[in-house]
């Protein structure tokens, strides 16, 4: 009788240990998923805010364990960080300056090569106003579908000299400087994303960094 009770206690203890281990694994997974870079909140400069971004072909070991993943970076206090969750004021102009160091991947839908939803309808590439690019030359897009904002990002040529390896990239390396302005809408939680299948090494280019917040996708908390 006492042996049976002992075996029962042992089984119970085993079940509890396994349950605790599973709970710990789940907790660790949740922490892993939620432990990303802190949201970026730019300082308001009058009626507008500035966002300075960088798009890179490989984020590098200093900024991510997935060093070869394509990514957006944001400049915070003069330093490049990998944060794609931003807090912006409502109904405010946002001046975006984006340095693209990545090559040309091409859009699956050429329709997305035309900008929409930005102030004036045009963006500039190295100072030259444009509203549209060759869809095959697109490197990325900056898009906030709920604001109807999309800006195609021109990629650097395959044979460009001094291309950037790992981020953060230096202004002396091959890049395009893209600038545009959009207006935030009402308060809310909005997603932004890239529409170019730019995730190298993943099926149809839409895995990995395209399916993980912190690289080519993120949120804008409009407050």
């Amino acid at each position: 009788m006492s042996l049976l009770v002992g075996a029962g206690r042992l089984r119970l203890a085993g079940v509890l240990v396994v349950a605790a281990a599973i709970a710990a694994l789940i907790a660790a997974y949740v922490v892993f998923l939620t432990h990303g870079p802190k949201p970026y909140r730019p300082a308001a400069t009058g009626p507008a805010v500035d966002l300075t971004l960088q798009t890179v072909a490989a984020v590098g070991p200093n900024l991510s364990p997935n060093e070869n993943w394509v990514s957006y970076l944001i400049q915070e206090n003069g330093k490049w960080t990998r944060s794609t969750v931003w807090t912006l004021p409502a109904n405010t102009l946002v001046h975006v300056t984006l340095y693209n160091y990545d090559g040309q991947s091409g859009l699956r839908n050429p329709f997305l090569a035309q900008a929409r939803g930005i102030v004036g309808g045009n963006f500039t590439v190295d100072g030259k106003p444009m509203s549209h690019i060759d869809p095959d030359a697109a490197s990325h897009t900056f898009a906030i579908p709920q604001f109807n904002v999309i800006v195609p990002i021109l990629g650097i040529a395959d044979d460009a000299k001094n291309q950037c390896g790992y981020a953060p990239c230096d202004p002396s390396m091959a890049h395009y400087k893209i600038q545009f302005t959009f207006r935030t809408g009402k308060k809310g939680h909005y997603r932004w994303q890239c529409f170019v299948p730019c995730a190298a090494g993943f099926v149809y280019g839409f895995g990995g960094p395209m399916q993980t917040i912190g690289y080519m996708d993120g949120f804008i908390n409009v407050v």
Binding site: N109, P110, Q114, C198, A200, G205, F206, M210
Partner: protein
């Protein structure tokens, strides 16, 4: 009299009474408010279908709930009664009645549903060769799913592609639903339209909107990170508003029109230059 009846008779009578009370509520109160609303021809048909489903299921639901409550009251045993309960035996007549009635209900609904589906298409995607085609003039509108946005092409208007969906009221619309990447599903809720968007497939769904209004568009197929954010608002507008709007879209997207491939019911874009 009640006390002399068997449990079976009591439950049967109670079920009939509850059904008689519930049926008018189902038909006249709940039925007309069934989704997706009577905004389109197929939507109206779906409201009717859902109401029929409700009517058929009412007596069965009434029986189950009545029996549950009856059993809880009639067969309740005091805590002090520790005697073993009576042996449970099968009851052939009850089993046969249950099997026959539920089978008949399911078969009726299967036949009814098939007939309804064949009569109008019921707003669902019918594949590239629709079984049910409406007569008269049809305005084709292509719905293109991509991660993670729907865009729309109007072949009647030079194949212009737009980021927003507008359709004219009183016009038979043929949605040609396809995808450029993963499997999506185009769900225009208040229109009563739902059609899968598969790459390389032209999935056709018909609808004729009856009133001007806005409607919700959602992706109804788990398609990746931003599936939950793949929503939009569409509009049913007057014919003159639609004519003005589509002309605006043609001017607005004149540059992208030059890049677009010729209109086709499916597209096979290079999956990617880089990731392959």
């Amino acid at each position: 009299m009640w006390s002399s009846w068997s449990h079976g008779r009591r439950v049967a009578v109670l079920t009939i009474v509850v059904t008689i009370i519930l049926l008018p509520i189902m038909i006249f109160v709940l039925g007309p408010n069934m989704p997706p609303g009577k905004n389109t021809d197929v939507g109206k048909g779906q409201v009717f279908d859902n109401t029929v489903l409700l009517i058929v299921m009412t007596p069965f639901t009434a029986f189950i709930l009545t029996y549950l409550v009856y059993a809880a009251i009639a067969f309740r045993v005091p805590d002090s009664d520790s005697r073993e309960g009576a042996h449970i035996r099968g009851h052939m007549r009850s089993q046969i009645i249950w099997l026959v009635t539920t089978t008949a209900a399911v078969l009726f609904l299967a036949i009814f549903g098939t007939a309804e589906l064949l009569s109008t298409g019921a707003g669902g995607g019918q594949g590239p060769k629709p079984i049910t085609k409406p007569g008269g003039t049809v305005l084709p509108v292509q719905v293109i799913g991509q991660q993670w946005e729907f865009t729309f092409r109007y072949p009647t208007y030079g194949g212009v592609e737009t980021a927003q969906l507008e359709i004219p009221v009183g016009t038979q619309i043929a949605f040609h639903v396809t995808s450029l990447d993963a499997i999506h599903s185009f769900w225009a809720y208040q229109l009563g339209v739902k059609a899968d968007a598969n790459p390389g497939v032209d999935n056709v769904a018909y609808v004729k909107p009856k009133t001007t209004r806005s409607f919700d568009i959602r992706c109804a197929e788990l398609c990746g990170l931003w599936h939950g954010y793949m929503f939009d608002t569409g509009y049913v507008v007057t014919q003159s508003q639609f004519t003005t709007w589509i002309a605006q879209q043609q001017r607005l997207y004149a540059k992208s029109m030059k890049d677009l491939p010729p209109f086709a019911y499916t597209y096979a874009p290079d999956p990617t230059f880089r990731a392959g």
